[in-house]
């Protein structure tokens, strides 16, 4: 029998377990890996979490609402390519310029949001109005959107992004690159939305029990479509950031990020069954994955083992999450 105080402590630890794991992993790596414990590496980890992190926000919202969005990676690839084509001056870039120059920033971001939002709305409409499986609809989008990247680029790349955009990838604030601040800002805003607004609470309720939510007067269909639009638009931002980071776009940009985003969402404590999950945990999950990846980069492990080690560490994190659930059930 545990006291209420002890229970509160255990609950706190369980709620923030992924942050504790992150702290533990960072401590171990800092002690064990030469050259790891330095500000530059920690800044790299935050910077590298940008793209998967932003992508994971939209994915987490859709999953919390009880659905699935496999298209986020391809949407990011498409918006990266559109940004590259419009605002790069070499390769297939047409080098669009604006006066004043800074206007490029909001315009390119607006285009990325719009393109992502349109794809998200198509996904949402098909899922809600035609009652199609979200898995199948977004899998199809994953394929056709990547195909569209290939089609509009012809397999070629765009380079030399306009300096007005590149500044986001080069300049820093408090030593952290501006693109990483965009990701942090996204997490703060959407954490607030999900935790403190009726919209966020309704999304979580829908994911937990859509029928009960409907009977409680929540506009389930409308909110589900909005989650898909949000997911697409946020993935659009991830693509926009990717183009800025790599100063252009190639046809395979972003490939492989869907699975990292999924891993981060699950490690972060979001239930794939819907109705459970908090965005700060997802950010911790993304940071954890980036920490592992960075550690492997710094250690320069034999190339053939890196993927295997990454998979094993992800599995270990998930096992801990399972232990967490078991403890929670015992406490209940």
């Amino acid at each position: 029998m545990i006291t209420p105080r002890q229970r509160a402590v255990v609950e706190f630890v369980l709620d923030n377990l992924v942050w504790f794991i992150l702290a533990f992993v960072l401590a171990i790596f800092s002690l064990a890996i030469p050259n790891f414990a330095q500000p530059g590496i920690f800044i790299n980890i935050i910077e590298q979490s940008t793209f998967v992190g932003v992508m994971a926000i939209g994915l987490a919202i859709v999953i919390i609402a009880g659905n699935m969005d496999l298209s986020v990676e391809s949407v990011a690839g498409l918006t990266a390519m559109i940004t590259g084509i419009l605002f790069c001056s070499r390769g297939i870039g047409i080098g669009l310029t604006m006066t004043p120059e800074w206007l490029v920033l909001p315009v390119s971001l607006g285009i990325a949001l719009m393109v992502g939002g349109i794809i998200g709305s198509i996904n949402g409409w098909l899922v809600v109005k035609l009652k199609m499986s979200a898995f199948i609809v977004t899998l199809a989008s994953y394929i056709w959107v990547r195909g569209m990247v290939d089609a509009i680029s012809g397999g070629r790349s765009a380079q030399d992004l306009t300096p007005a955009l590149r500044i986001m990838g080069i300049e820093t604030f408090l030593s952290i690159p501006l693109i990483a601040w965009v990701a942090i800002l996204c997490f703060v805003v959407f954490t607030f939305i999900m935790a403190k607004t009726p919209f966020g609470r309704h999304i979580t309720m829908i994911g937990g029990n859509p029928v009960a939510s409907f009977r409680a007067g929540i506009k389930v269909d409308r909110l589900i479509i909005i989650t898909f639009i949000l997911s697409g638009a946020i993935a659009g931002v991830a693509g926009w950031l990717l183009a800025i980071r790599t100063s252009g776009a190639t046809a395979n940009l972003g490939i492989g990020m869907l699975f990292r985003a999924f891993a981060a969402v699950v490690i972060g404590g979001v239930s794939l069954k819907g109705g459970i999950g908090q965005l700060p945990g997802v950010y911790a999950g993304v940071l954890l994955l980036s920490t592992i990846q960075t550690a492997m980069n710094v250690m320069a492990l034999p190339v053939h083992y890196t993927q295997m080690i990454l998979g094993a560490l992800v599995l270990a994190a998930l096992l801990l999450d399972t232990v967490k659930l078991a403890i929670r059930q015992k406490l209940a």
Partner: protein, 348 residues
Amino acid sequence: MKRLFSALCGALAMVALVFSASATWAQTKGKIYYMVPTLLDEFQTESVSALTKFLGDVGYETVTLNADNKTDLQQSQMNDVINLKPSAIILAAVDFNALVPSIEKARAAGIPVMIFDRQITTTPSDFTSVAGTVEIGYVAAGEIERLLKEKNGSVKGKVLQVLGDPADPYTLDIQKGFEEKMKAFPDVQIISLPAMQWEASNAGTIVADQLVANPDIDLIFVHAAHLAVAAVASLEAKGKKPGDILLVSSNGAPVGLDLIRKGWEQVEVEQPLYAQAAAIAMFADKVVNKQEIKPGTYDVLGLESIVTIEPWGANIKIPGAAITKDNVDEARFWGNLKAPTDPVKPVE
């Protein structure tokens, strides 16, 4: 309704006419299928244009099938194409070994198979046109030896090698050739890391991490030019200027040539794409008609290329070139995207 039906019939008739007209127009010596491994990189994309152009010069129609980097898809594409009985198949394999049974099946069905760019030595084929990926590693090693000597006074220093996907034999061959040659220089420390799935931001991440962990890196060698772009973006983000850290890349894509012009990259080791494709066209008649290919030296778009008869068949090896700021604008480099306009002639 009647009007709609007649309009539909009219449209169908027009389509049929266009198709039959194009079929008549397209009468050639036959169809050759090009099995391209992916269209997500510029080398492969340009190879489609080059092969279509050069094979057209010698009278063949080219049909391209994209395997999207999937071995199983390329295997089933091979099976489909074998049933269509084309004049020949050009194969740039996704996986060098997995496609061996498909090559054997095609040849057993009487369809000649030409190997393009990605060498297969474990089974006979009818013609092989390659730059030699191991040789690209050799050329890169030679250039890196020179660059390190110029920078440090002798061949010493720290090299970050950014591979492509570690499951791709193409990048492993380059690594093999490069490291084999660099063994002669024990004062050179090589750090090798893979950019999973050849994805550019992965390469950027590796460079960013290594610049912090090993700030004394002298040179970065990336296995594809599109990875070099992300590497440069990371260098720029860390406040580096062109030339602060030397950069060498391979494959000769347009992006790499641009980086040389801007001073970020010192050497791009080119895969001679146009010559590799032209060689396929030059020998296509001999392959299709199952005539003997004689060993010797041939001029392929001005490059002295050597045909040898190997256990796996006739093999033409075309030398890769090192592109530097002195020769970057030469039209012979495929990265300048100026495909030769003179028609290729078949070897007599």
